[in-house]
């Protein structure tokens, strides 16, 4: 909205709002309808990945509140711990099927290269998040993984900065840095999908893609 007051039009908040709304209008951010081609199972796996990620974070928060004694020794702790693990399994499963679908659809078409790249970065960041999670289980499995991984990481010279034997460092990466990074990258990825619209299949590539807001 343009005002008649040039002083207000120069404000940082005013200019920022105009740029944000121009880049992603509300009806594109939260559309009423989707293109017909989205009515396919192959388009379901992106949102499945998102839902699984929400469950991963929610169960992770419960585990963080109660701590390792609780998730190792109580029935409810076992249950929430298992929910955390299996939602991660669903997350990776759905993300990889989503990745295959988008790869064979050449989803970088129509100026969607950044969407594709942020998806790829999400995949790599998720692997690092999963790894730091496996070494934070506080059981024999995590000890085995950490002692095996440290040799691999030391061979790259990165062990001075990222040490799998440092339980505290791995836990902080797992519950602070990586979730924060993933939320930012995935959030940007979703906004890019809304900005450019869902990529059409090849058969519909002659159709305009910007009407699918």
């Amino acid at each position: 909205m343009t005002t008649t007051n040039p002083e207000i039009d120069r404000q940082l908040t005013t200019r920022l709002r105009k740029r944000v709304v121009a880049w992603l209008p509300p009806d594109k951010l939260l559309p009423d309808t989707q293109p017909n081609y989205v009515s396919s199972w192959i388009y379901v796996f992106g949102v499945t990945t998102l839902v699984a990620m929400v469950i991963v974070i929610a169960t992770g928060c419960v585990l963080a509140i109660n701590g390792p004694q609780w998730w190792h020794l109580s029935s409810l702790g076992h249950f929430v711990n298992s929910m955390h693990l299996w939602s991660v399994e669903v997350f990776f499963f759905a993300m990889i099927v989503h990745l295959w679908g988008k790869f064979f659809m050449a989803a970088w078409r129509g100026n969607r290269a950044l969407t594709w790249i942020t998806g790829g970065v999400t995949f790599l960041a998720s692997i690092l998040t999963g790894f730091t999670g496996y070494v934070s289980q506080t059981n024999f499995d995590s000890q085995w993984i950490a002692t095996q991984a440290k040799d691999g990481i030391n061979s790259t010279g990165g062990g001075a900065y990222f040490n799998p034997l440092n339980t505290g460092q791995m836990l902080m990466w797992h519950i602070v840095l990586m979730p924060l990074a993933l939320c930012v990258i995935v959030g940007f990825h979703v906004l890019l999908v809304r900005h450019r619209g869902v990529v059409p299949p090849f058969a519909d590539s002659s159709q305009p893609t910007e009407v699918n807001a």
């Binding site: 989707q34 017909n36 009515s39 396919s40 199972w41 192959i42 796996f45 029935s75 295959w100």
Partner: protein, 62 residues
Amino acid sequence: MAVIYGLLGALFNLSHPGHFISWGWIQISLANLIVIIVMVVVFLLAMVIPLPGKRRRRGGSQ
């Protein structure tokens, strides 16, 4: 609860070392191989099975 554990234990006996498949320099656990095969199957099915309610859906912008 003990009944559930008993039933699951009968289906999946996990009290043994994992099974691994080796092919040259490739080595993969049977569990991981099964998950990858299931992913491929789900991917193929997702492309051929129609989404329920597709014909009833209205208001598509294309």
